[in-house]
Symmetry: C2
Subunit: 343 residues, 2 copies
């Protein structure tokens, strides 16, 4: 836990008996943690986006399974596995796009294939391991990404792929943290409508760390690129297909097309738990659609004004300059058989 504290802001804290989640809907104005002792409430917390970000969702779900084991093993030593599997099923309905969720649930489920004298402790241990591994992966990716940046003068990130989206430190923002220690000064963040993860979460995280950041409207990114001031776009990912196509926050595809047109490079930073090796191409990734209310002023309810609100988009591998994982970097994945070498 000490190491975690040194990493700064923590979106998830395991107390031993409960999971504490920082309510990301209230940032940056308020820092409020809620405490959870069962899988159903964690499922709702993920659905409601109290916790978001592909790796963080996976970790929260893993702890959700651990809490489910704790709840049901104590009460019903005969039938507890059935109940835990029901909770795993429930957790899997929280959000559809991030594959880390399904990856973490699968890892937790595999636990029950072996005998454990104390499954409660074993499940908690595995969830904590998933959590710690994620942080470790982020630190490694941070250095690898900073190596890639080299002498780059200015970068932009989209959404929040930071400590808040992961176990800690962050993926895209982990690279920016590591590069900042090496002297990178010009960091831009897109505000990322409709949920404003960039304005509310990324700017806040960097402020906490004393790293200067400049916020821009999402639609100003092209104009910034045209000024010649940007070297790299750095983003996380919610799911990467085997061919290197990347599902990430809506707007990533837009940035990728614009970056290519302005000779700006695109770096995707994600742990291998984000890679869906079973999916050949990004075209098959389920894109979550969220409520029109996230976009529409309330006075338009029940009128002829509607909204189209996809939360993610898919960037084809040919627009990606580098995919950085804890197992290594794939340059120009479209020319490298995607990310299959990382399997």
């Amino acid at each position: 836990m000490n190491q975690l504290k040194q990493l700064g802001v923590q979106p998830l804290e395991w107390t031993g008996q409960t999971l504490r989640l920082l309510d990301q809907r209230l940032l940056p104005e308020q820092q409020v943690y809620h405490e959870y002792d069962n899988a159903g409430d964690i499922r709702d917390a993920i659905f409601q986006m109290q916790v978001r970000g592909a790796p963080a969702i996976g970790i929260a779900a893993a702890y959700g399974v651990a809490l489910s084991v704790r709840q049901h093993f104590g009460v019903d030593k005969r039938d507890w596995k059935t109940r835990v599997k029901q909770d795993i099923q429930l957790l899997s309905t929280s959000r559809p796009t991030a594959v880390n969720l399904f990856w973490a649930l699968h890892k937790m489920e595999q636990l029950f294939e072996q005998h454990h004298d104390n499954p409660v402790a074993a499940a908690a241990r595995l969830a904590q391991q998933i959590h710690a591994d994620d942080i470790e992966a982020n630190l490694r990716m941070g250095e690898a990404g900073a190596d890639l940046l080299g002498e780059a003068q200015a970068v932009m990130t989209h959404c929040n792929a930071g400590a808040l989206a992961t176990g800690g430190y962050g993926t895209a923002l982990g690279v920016i943290r590591s590069a900042s220690k090496r002297g990178l000064k010009n960091i831009y963040a897109g505000e990322t409508r409709p949920w404003l993860q960039g304005a509310r979460l990324t700017a806040w995280e960097l402020q906490q760390d004393g790293i200067d950041v400049t916020l821009i409207a999402d639609s100003a990114a092209a104009w910034l690129m045209k000024s010649g001031k940007l070297d790299w776009i750095i983003v996380g990912a919610d799911r990467i297909a085997a061919n290197g196509d990347v599902a990430n926050k809506i707007g990533t595809y837009s940035l990728a097309v614009l970056a290519r047109q302005h000779d700006v490079k695109l770096m995707v930073v994600a742990p291998t738990s984000t890679i869906d090796f079973s999916m050949e191409s990004g075209e098959n990734i389920t894109i979550e659609m969220r409520s029109a209310d996230e976009l529409l002023p309330a006075c338009y309810q029940n009128t002829n004004v509607s909204a189209w609100n996809p939360v993610f988009d898919v960037t084809p591998a040919r627009l990606v300059s580098a995919i950085v994982t804890e197992r290594g970097v794939v340059m120009n994945p479209a020319e490298q058989n995607g990310v299959r070498s990382l399997q």
Copy 2:
């Protein structure tokens, strides 16, 4: 006035003695008109964006000059022109990018080169003429733009180039109104951060007219284009250079680059008062920067979080498929010596 009422929502109403302005900062929740009797207050109303949109700013400024003549001619028959010229100077400092402002002020100033027995009435008449001409131009452009659309199935607009941005009916939204009467069904509007002109003004205008509209986050436009569902982007303009470069709301350049990459066409709709024939290229257009506060949550004040908030960008003529004016349409302006043929 009767013809104006038939056009629906009016951003500007001349009462004979005063100018009433619909406060566009309060839409769509509230419809509040403020009444002005002097140029200084109209200058502030433009600066504060109670009224916005290049043609509407020009018309408001023209009425501002008319009110200045009314105020000063009555009081000081000897020196009133000096005072009116001071007010014209003041009005010219309201916003820097839209050329219609300077065009309208220049037209009003020319009035004083001739003798008028009743300059108060003459100035009011000229301002009303500028207003009526703008509406007339919009109606003509609406039909010309709808002709261009032909059998197009789906269009998207950005910001608000509607009745609210003009004397009435609108430029880009005038085309959409005309096309809607001919059967166009699929109309998308980008919400247009940071001021949300699309969400607050364009959606509201179309709702008033009973025209269905679908709002999207600005960064979702590329993903919509990739789906193949979009035929045209239709926007207004704040200033068009002689070579056909177009200054318009931030995000227009982004849409233009994305449109070209997705075989979507870009139509710019603007009266010739928006063309700055004295400016050879868009590179020389002054781009207004507005306060960081429009982007930053209040809790970031006095921290290391800053914002870059350009309000406009410049789209090079080579990305423009058609410029529609009341004097005619220029197809592919980059291949046609810009818009110089319209002079």
